[in-house]
């Protein structure tokens, strides 16, 4: 008798990977919800400079992940070479980012926060998730004419140290400085609003 899902036939390692992904996803969603990021007005507030919670949460996450991965690797706890870095496709990702930003402003939710909003029973979250799945389906159906653009300007896994020709540690220092300056600026802007 086979398992109900074919993927479970791949072995216990795959099941563990899926379980870990589920736990991380639930934890991420819980953190987003606790930060108040299931609310569309709160998210859109960053575009009007009235509520920069999203900006602060995301930059804090970037700094924690950056410093955590750097120092854990430096202390030989984490092997950075085994951390998957997605490939860079410059123009397609710029176009995707622009489309993502437009969708973010229009819906007031991004993919992660729309799932959180849907899980908390919010109607706008359910609509945003449905729209996201429709978009994925549409892209899949229209992929053939888009494939050439999708695969253009490939740079493999292009990281900031490689793009800037700077040592990894220097880039970490610069990003931390920029992140902390951004967080201070966000507090100042919120204080004026």
């Amino acid at each position: 008798m086979s398992a109900p899902l074919p993927v479970f036939d791949a072995g216990s390692a795959r099941v563990l990977e899926l379980a870990a992904a589920l736990a991380i996803g639930v934890g991420f969603g819980w953190a987003l919800e606790r930060a108040g990021l299931a609310s569309a007005p709160k998210l859109v507030g960053q575009f009007y400079g009235t509520d920069l919670t999203v900006f602060k949460v995301m930059f804090t996450a970037i700094l924690v992940a950056l410093l955590g991965s750097f120092w854990l690797a430096r202390l030989d706890v984490l092997d950075l070479a085994r951390v998957s870095v997605p490939d860079t496709f410059l123009l397609p990702q710029l176009a995707g980012g622009l489309l993502f930003g437009i969708g973010f402003v229009v819906a007031g939710l991004c993919p992660g926060t729309s799932c959180v909003a849907a899980a908390t029973g919010r109607g706008d979250g359910l609509v945003a998730v449905a729209g996201m799945f429709c978009g994925v389906l549409l892209t899949g159906l229209l992929f053939a004419p888009l494939a050439r653009f999708y695969e253009s300007t490939g740079h493999a896994a292009w990281t900031l140290p490689e793009a800037l020709h700077l040592p990894y540690g220097v880039v970490v220092g610069l990003v931390v400085a920029a992140g902390l300056a951004g967080l201070c600026a966000a507090e100042w802007i919120e204080g004026r609003a």
């Binding site: 700094l63 750097f70 690797a73 430096r74 950075l80 493999a156 896994a157 540690g169 220092g173 931390v176």
Partner: protein
């Protein structure tokens, strides 16, 4: 979290970021990056390898910055190697230091390992790297003991102390063949 807690976390981040430039690379081993399209162009233009005769000419001309790296096993290297070459194990090739101005030629038994080592060096940014196309076998066949009447470069054969051999005769002395 209160203002004091946020300031404490910002302080930790600041210290971590300030020390990072002096902490060295976080990677356990040197990590290269391959521009596949560029490599494909280099291979298509046959600019990735040298022939045995070309290498012999470079050695004879004392080409500035030339460094011949032999990737074969120690016993094979001890039995015979290209004059002036240096033995490096392929596992330590990625961490071997090469000056930017050096022209590196990799040698292996039949060219396979040398071609793979060439990819490693390209990924690590050593663009002036080549491999001996047919390996040490081509060096023996074309430079050290070419067939009489079909010598590609008789002066080079004489220069390196080789001698032509009769048609059908095996090479008088040579390394074990059949490896990569």
């Amino acid at each position: 979290m209160g203002r004091a807690g946020r300031r404490a976390l910002a302080g930790v981040a600041l210290v971590g970021g300030a020390l990072a430039p002096f902490a060295g690379s976080p990677y356990r081993a040197q990590r290269g990056r391959v521009d596949v399209a560029r490599l494909a162009g280099v291979v298509a233009r046959e600019e990735d390898h040298v022939t045995a005769v070309e290498l012999a000419q470079w050695i004879k001309d004392r080409k500035p910055g030339l460094r011949v790296i032999d990737l074969r096993a120690a016993d094979a290297f001890d039995a015979y190697h290209v004059p002036g070459s240096q033995r490096v194990d392929i596992t330590t090739l990625p961490t071997t230091a090469f000056a930017p101005a050096e022209t590196v030629v990799l040698v292996s038994d039949a060219g396979g390992h040398a071609a793979q080592g060439w990819v490693f060096l390209q990924a690590l940014g050593h663009r002036q790297a080549y491999f001996l196309r047919g390996g040490i076998g081509e060096w023996m066949d074309d430079v050290m003991s070419p067939v009489a009447g079909r010598q590609p470069a008789p002066t080079l054969t004489r220069y390196f102390g080789g001698a032509a051999r009769a048609e059908g005769a095996p090479p008088p002395r040579g390394p074990r063949r059949g490896g990569c």
